[in-house]
Subunit: 510 residues, 3 copies
């Protein structure tokens, strides 16, 4: 009896422990928990599917952590500035936070936020995660995606179509892009600075004509089939890329193509090299022969921004801002009418080393910036993040939002290097600063561009100087001339000389 | 003491058991769990409401299972093909899956996905569930609804208005539809093939003029008040349909209608037959007198597709595709300008018995197809469903999506018969095949129709044949002439001779 | 051993109790639970953040309850009618429900649904909660916000910009509103009845020119940066309002403004009075000098509805409806072209004491009404609320929605007084009744206004009278002349004599 009682006790103890662990473990890692929670609540999952889903979560978290660890190590030296600080309450918590903190900045994206959609010997395509996967604060741009394509010289990118409208910007390499519209095939030989639109559902393939230079293309995409989701559809292909023809029943395919199954098996079975392969010089020459545009079917030796109504070279226009501290090139729908229905403006900023752009804000547009080259950092003032000093997006119906006072602005910031992405929502004041070692080159996609105005906060045309004397005095509670003395000091415009020293931790004033 | 200890142990054991059961039971049925979860988290529910809500869940699940069981039994014989296979991993799992599998195809809808909104002796109106209730993958069409109305000859459908724009297609019967716009009443005598738009909030009633033929109307709706929700508002009526006047206070109603309450009680108390009743020949004759359109108030004996600018007959135009294997009739906003603000194209496909349409894909439009008559099946290639071989929509932030390779395409398929609905999102290659016994007639609503292009994947104008020689070779990794040999075999267009045999399980090639 | 066993038992007991309490407590208050649930599932929260979040929940719920208690007490006397009834099942449950019931009406908002965004000695700005925070049934207007500004005479509202398009309506006071667009500053002297649009991102400040009258302005806002969220950005300011300049690093700010940090500290450190302060007579005079509009730079002594193309006076137009029972003034985009891209119509209804408006419904528009003055109540028929007699929004995928019969309409109602807000979705019949003591004045924002029609349900042009004789008879199941006798009684239009008595509980007829 005493033994039984003890056994029972042990059993109970174990049960209770199990339950406690269950409750405790579920609170360990928020992302893991979130992931498992979704597995559990996914409608229609049976228990086996749920199990697989949960295993996927564990694996993903483990992998992510290893990647992060790896990244942190490999960063050790190169960055010219330590990571700038990101909030008010941090002074007290610095030692404990480090990288973690940075990861919680919902407006800033780095390598680990991209997934690799295609990877072969010859190149890769990386796609940034969905903006709303990161934070609900980015709902305004939830149906846009950003990605980039990098290939070796002479790489061929296999034919496919996308369920998204795509605008691409050529930063490096010389791609010959071929699209098929209706019964017409068009080839466009693009160069550095070209913008090109590929309408959703258009079969496209391309080759890097350059023998020496890598191809580097940035893609801005607006999905049309599943909002926020982006997929490629390969008609041609085999095992890798898989042709979508292979999803149909053999009987259906035989009838559709009027061909016996063994021939089809052969056709759709040879390609195993993936969707980015290597083309021969001869093939590149043939693939670069322009046809279809404006009726000219032959070889077209001359290239320029205006060579095709379907492409626009950002550098073919005078910069809209230019001084020794930087230059800004812009294309709106007046320049490139294919941007109109996307309500998009594309700009390219080249910030001289040691210089800065802004602070300014966009009145209506939300700007998605992709760093092409150089190093630096950005800062942005944001009233949406919580006043606890963390860059946490507030979930929508959070009671704390029912605040009773004026907004507090948190500093959002991040170190910029090639491949970093940052988002500046409408109304949010922001600035970007180039390192002292290299120019900072950024391509920006501004959505909701119609009627947008850039409002400068410092420099010759800053908005504060334009207030009435009385407004200055009442707003700052100092004599108006004191306001003017400060806001009239800076007489450059848009691009300015940057800070002498690296920024210290924290905000401007405690 | 020993006894007390034992009692305590028992109590503890029971507590632990209770907790374990609590945790275990919550994982039993995903849909039930989901439902109960919503009851629990519904803001503002008190405990009694939560209890009722949970009871509703249990009841609903029980009922759903019984309906399913019933359906499965009653299906036994009639289908001409066994259910086509739906995925790669299935070969191994066939014996266990059956119907369940089919139910998880988020692009395919059958009887059990409709709810009966109106049912009387004389007819019924059935409404398809919200697309996003089925799957998040259908978010692009979340604010559209599909339904159909069936009535006996000489049925009258009571006056009401809807909080949705409606486009109706008359497949059977000859309805006289009366709408009230401002101070104008218009009657439209519609026939087989007519499209007609009823703007949101427009009072409407109709009668089936035909003495012998049933009325069969398909409705496409775009809600304006609660996105994705669709309701009818009956001004006239009594107990059934209930008049919305009855929701107001008696005092308010008396003042508004300047009438004593007992008279109002009489007026709003007589109708108990429901919103679809039987009209006499005399009444039908009167109700069919056209007035209001183009100023003609009198009887209008002649009907045609062009009789009213508010209706358009799909068959009044030459088919846009026609051969011995099928015909396609289409109306876009150029034909019927009332489709413009809905960004809608309507098409009617009549696929000859034993023939097929496609494979093709829409570049931008998402197509919602409703089977009007005949039998057959459809197949579609989809990269969005999980690679486990199940047609499961992936929840948005699922880590597995962070895949590192080219997409895999799953086969989505379903048996078609009257009332089946299937959805082909933009970019997704699809085909539909008619049985050898009957023509397959389908009405299609294509949303996001502006600038959409149908891209043929086989036949005379197939897109693969248009690729450069070099692209063919590089993409398929076989000589280009081999590609051409296969893709030039089929020289029909859009409609083709179908497969000789029924499809076997699985995809084209393992 | 026995002792140890007992100790173990106690430990176990405590553990089990703890777990039971954990599970039980989580089900106590749905809002609290929801709040804590969000804390728990917030991606990226570490355990400390989660803890803070949860403490915030507790605090908020406690505070909310106290506020409610306080409100209920202070209401005791003044209301002229007891709260009208809101549903069918209520007769049985009255004694228990009271205020709670009212709170669950998702179309009706009172004081407690506003948050105070700014509060100083001189005035305050109150913002209504997000519509979808209240109910999913309001998704159609989820990206609109309503608020109001009240200040003392001679108050100055500090310069800021918003991440939302704003339309303001001046009900009391005489504000001089200054906006900065590009390099142009414009001052607009507005008066009672003026509508004015402030584009998103436009720096604006204002002063109440009136020496005696309070300023009372109603704001309609459409956010552009985070859908449904609304924030102010103060460039000028100090501690309160905080200037967003203070979020940047000192180094960055020094470089941007070319000014030493100690001078900046002084400039951004003086303002502590908040964003609504008091201006002197002299300052007001200066701030009211109009410039910038149409080139006139000087003082502009004459004011009228047409004084500026950027403002429109609602009362400058003839009322679109007017009789002894009330008057309706309207502005659509033809009157005020700045309403066009917002798809907005603004109307002002002045319902004579003891009179009523409607019942009518909007065909497409959803109307958001804000009570400016007077008392009364509204009633609306709604098919979307649950048939349990509670004004509970049904969560989207609730199985109970799969109903099998015609809709039942619930009465939605609420007592109106200054600051009450009610929403009438498209298609929903509604009426509003003024008390016998005062005129009821309401400003209405109708979104989705394009092609909207108001459909009158009673009075001279009521829609029922326009049905065919046969339709009346078939629909009501009584002779058509009986229908006419009742629906032709009321020969006024839109505004009518109100009910003699206050409404009793319940619907028109049981």
């Amino acid at each position: 009896m005493a033994l039984k009682s003890k056994l029972l006790l042990v059993a109970l103890l174990l049960s209770v422990l199990f339950l406690s662990v269950y409750v405790a473990s579920a609170t360990q890692d928020p992302e893991l928990k979130q992931c498992r929670h979704q597995c559990e609540h996914q409608q229609g999952f049976d228990s086996k599917q749920r199990e697989q889903c949960e295993q996927g979560c564990d694996k993903y978290i483990k992998q992510k952590r290893e990647e992060e660890k790896h990244r942190r190590k490999s960063e050790g030296g190169g960055s010219f500035y330590p990571i700038p600080e990101t909030g008010r309450a941090q002074e007290e918590e610095e030692e404990f936070q480090g990288r973690q903190q940075q990861d919680q900045n919902p407006y800033f994206f780095e390598d680990e936020h991209f997934e690799t959609r295609v990877q072969t010997e010859e190149g890769r395509f990386q796609l940034l995660q969905k903006f709303t996967e990161r934070s609900d604060l980015l709902r305004a741009i939830e149906n846009y995606r950003i990605g980039f394509l990098v290939t070796k010289p002479h790489a061929f990118v296999a034919p496919c179509h996308f369920d998204a409208d795509t605008v691409l910007f050529v930063f490096q390499g010389r791609p010959a892009v071929t699209i098929v519209r209706g019964e017409k095939r068009e080839t466009h030989n693009l160069e550095h600075g070209d913008l090109f639109r590929i309408p959703a559902g258009t079969p496209v393939y391309m080759v890097n004509r350059d023998e020496n230079e890598k191809l580097f293309i940035v893609n801005f995409m607006k999905p049309v089939s599943v909002p926020g989701e982006y997929e490629a559809f390969y008609a041609a292909g085999g095992e890798n890329p898989e042709s979508f023809f292979k999803a149909f029943s053999p009987q259906v395919l035989q009838a559709a193509l009027k061909t016996e199954i063994n021939k089809l098996e052969r056709l759709f079975g040879q390609q195993r090299q993936g969707s980015i392969t290597r083309a021969s010089k001869e093939q590149i020459k043939k693939l670069s022969q322009q046809h279809g545009q404006g009726g000219s079917e032959g070889f077209w030796p001359f290239h320029g921004g205006q060579s095709s109504s379907d492409a626009f070279n950002l550098f073919s226009k005078h910069p809209s801002q230019a001084n020794k501290f930087g230059r800004l090139f812009e294309a709106d729908f007046n320049d490139f009418k294919q941007l109109q229905d996307l309500d998009l403006l594309v700009s390219f900023a080249n910030i001289t080393q040691g210089a800065m752009v802004g602070p300014y804000f966009n009145s209506r547009a939300t700007k998605i910036s992709f760093v092409l080259d150089g190093e630096g950092y950005f800062e942005m003032a944001c009233p949406h993040v919580s006043s606890t000093g963390r860059q946490e997006p507030q979930p929508q119906p959070q009671p704390q939002q029912r605040r009773k006072s004026s907004p507090r602005y948190q500093k959002i910031s991040g170190n910029l290097r090639r491949g970093a992405v940052f988002v500046a929502p409408a109304g949010h004041p922001m600035t970007a600063i180039a390192s002292r070692n290299s120019n900072l080159q950024i391509i920006c996609f501004e959505v909701n561009a119609h009627d947008n105005i850039r409002v400068p906060l410092v420099g010759k045309k800053n908005v504060v100087s334009q207030f009435d004397r009385e407004a200055k005095q009442l707003a700052f509670n100092v004599p108006a001339r004191e306001v003017d003395r400060i806001f009239n000091n800076q007489d450059d415009e848009f691009f300015f000389e940057g800070p002498n020293e690296q920024p210290e931790h924290g905000r401007a004033f405690a």
